[in-house]
Amino acid sequence: MTTNWRFAWRNIWRHPRRTILTMLAIAFGAALLVFSIGFQLGQYDLMIKGSVSIYEGLIQVQKKGYLDEPKMRNSIEDIQSLAKQLRNKTSIDSISARANGFALVSSEKRSYGTLIAGVETAYEKLVSIIPGTVREGHYLSSDTAQEIIIGKSLAKNLQITIGDELTLMGNGRDGSIAATILPVVGIYQSGSKELDRNLIQMPIKTFQDTFGMGTHGHAIVFFHDDVKQLSLFKQEINQIIPDNKSLVTLTWDELQPGIKQAIELDYSSGWFMYLVLVAVITFSILNTFLMSVLERTREFGIMLALGYKPLNIGKLVMLEAFILTLFALALGTLIGLSINLYFAYYGLSFEGMEEIASVYNMPSTLYPQISLESILIGPLVIFIFTIISALYPAIKIRKLQPVEAMRKI
């Protein structure tokens, strides 16, 4: 075995220039994959973080069935106490309770049907960007304040400004008619068209009074920066939730399946590109391997004549490919990783990124993800493909006849 290793090592360096060129080709491919996969995964991280920070949160606790059928009666009793309890007992600090409803909202001039959310005014800013994007006026002042804030597009559609009163009419939890008149104290512009056009927030207690909710609410929203610890958080929450049968803990991918689908679609189309790249690399390597085997037919013939088994020669060729690829991949991964580390520190921004970025509430500067997955998955795929391509010449050797082979040039 050691002989084989020594043979292989020497054979690789018989043509130093060719070997180095091949290694560079592989290394370049590997570096490119490490670079692009790193950025791709980094972009997904930002997409997820961006989307969950707008409004829906990373995790929500809801009444079972509320996600599919958001009916007012599918509510959680004493929701603010439960939110408080979760705030105290979990490692997540950004927790806020909400109650949701639907109402016909009218100004003097116009009427629209919109979503109404009753929020904990002190905590809402921890789980959503809405309080921080109030551009005119101010955010809701206390849980019992008789006031509302409204999205910019909706304000424009209703033709109202700060201080104007809006009439809200809908159905309460008990089926009665819920109606109230409240002044607009703030206009927000979250950047999410859906929210800016379609969501009004009011203090949670005011909401509960208006819609006959008592102490009920519909969702406890959790936010955290670290998406990777999701399952840990979920476990933590599930231990504290009193009645596991009627309440469910939902994660971002269940709350916003669209984001996950967008990522999966992008990921699979990205992989198509990568596979094309890997295929090009593989063929150029196959060419090199095949050349180096064909030109050594005479040498292999002699080895066979000396009693070397064909299987062993095959192994030798495979070993050469293995060593060469391994060195090349190590080099390529190192290059790719150092590029990514650089950008992880300084960031990378493209012109025109802002527009796409704003859709998912992402910053316009990209940072690559530095993780075992993002670093190793590309080189691993190249490794597998090159070893497969090395199999072909290795198998070819087994058909060699010593006498004929020796006669070859």
Binding site: L104, S111, I181
Partner: protein, 249 residues
């Protein structure tokens, strides 16, 4: 001679079938709507909304005139007393005494639930859309207890502002609607209104019970029960006005 006889008998046969010809689908629908609305009507009814974990009953009075004017006023429970809905042509207004405001319901809300029930605003609104904006076909004619029943398919015109793809109505020859099924654009049954408790009132057959049920929630429904209905009652001049909606006597 023989041929003449055949011709005559054919002619007789033909005229015979003509005399018994079915009314057109559109006529049946129109008569059915006329039948339960009349020129004008006054009724007292209660609406029960049934959900798996709760139930709510609302009492109301309703006035209608022609096919395009109606006023509904809640009389109980106390919390919602004097709330009301007014419909004139394609316009709909709601009044909430709690805030003493009248609000116009925009057309975009026409498919939203009316008063939290399984009826939509559209179901409560003017009744003659079904006559004018649909194409009607009689699919089959059957007989039940000696009363002829028509199954009519109504498909909205291309340009009709209607969410349904198809509606199926079962109407008998006394112009009583027994069943009204609403299908979406993909031909899936979304909700069904069934009528029962048919009585003869003022010379008309009227169903006093209507139940609206959505297909995907079999344990939820809304039932509207009419306790008292009078037809062709004189209406005071300002009955169907915003003023009257907002100022119940």
């Amino acid at each position: 001679m023989k041929t003449a006889l055949i011709v005559i008998s054919l002619f007789l046969l033909h005229s015979g079938t003509q005399a018994q010809e079915l009314p057109s689908a559109k006529d049946i629908i129109k008569s059915a709507i006329d039948n339960y609305r009349g020129i004008s009507s006054y009724s007292e009814a209660s609406m029960t909304i049934r959900r798996p974990d709760w139930e709510r009953t609302v009492s109301m009075k309703a006035w209608t005139e022609d096919l395009d004017r109606s006023l509904v006023r809640i009389t109980a429970p106390v919390k919602d007393k004097n709330s009301g809905t007014l419909v004139i042509d394609d316009n709909m207004w709601s009044y909430a005494p709690k805030i003493n405001r009248v609000i116009k319901i925009p057309a975009s809300m026409s498919n939203q639930s009316w008063m939290g029930s399984d009826f939509s605003n559209n179901d409560v609104a003017r009744a003659d859309d079904l006559i004018e904006k649909y194409t009607h076909t009689i699919l089959e004619t059957t007989e039940k207890n000696g009363i002829k029943q028509y199954l009519i398919r109504s498909i909205p015109h291309e340009d009709a502002p209607v969410v349904w793809g198809k509606e199926l109505l079962t109407i008998d020859e006394r112009y009583v609607v027994h069943k009204h099924e609403f299908y979406d654009q993909d031909n899936i049954l979304i909700k069904t209104m069934t009528s029962s408790n048919t009585k003869l009132i003022d010379g008309k057959y009227v169903s006093l019970k209507q139940r609206m049920q959505k297909t995907d929630t079999p344990d939820e429904w809304t039932e509207l029960e009419t306790h008292n209905i009078q037809f062709n009652v004189p209406m005071k001049a300002n009955m169907f006005t915003l003023y009257n909606l907002q100022n119940p006597r």
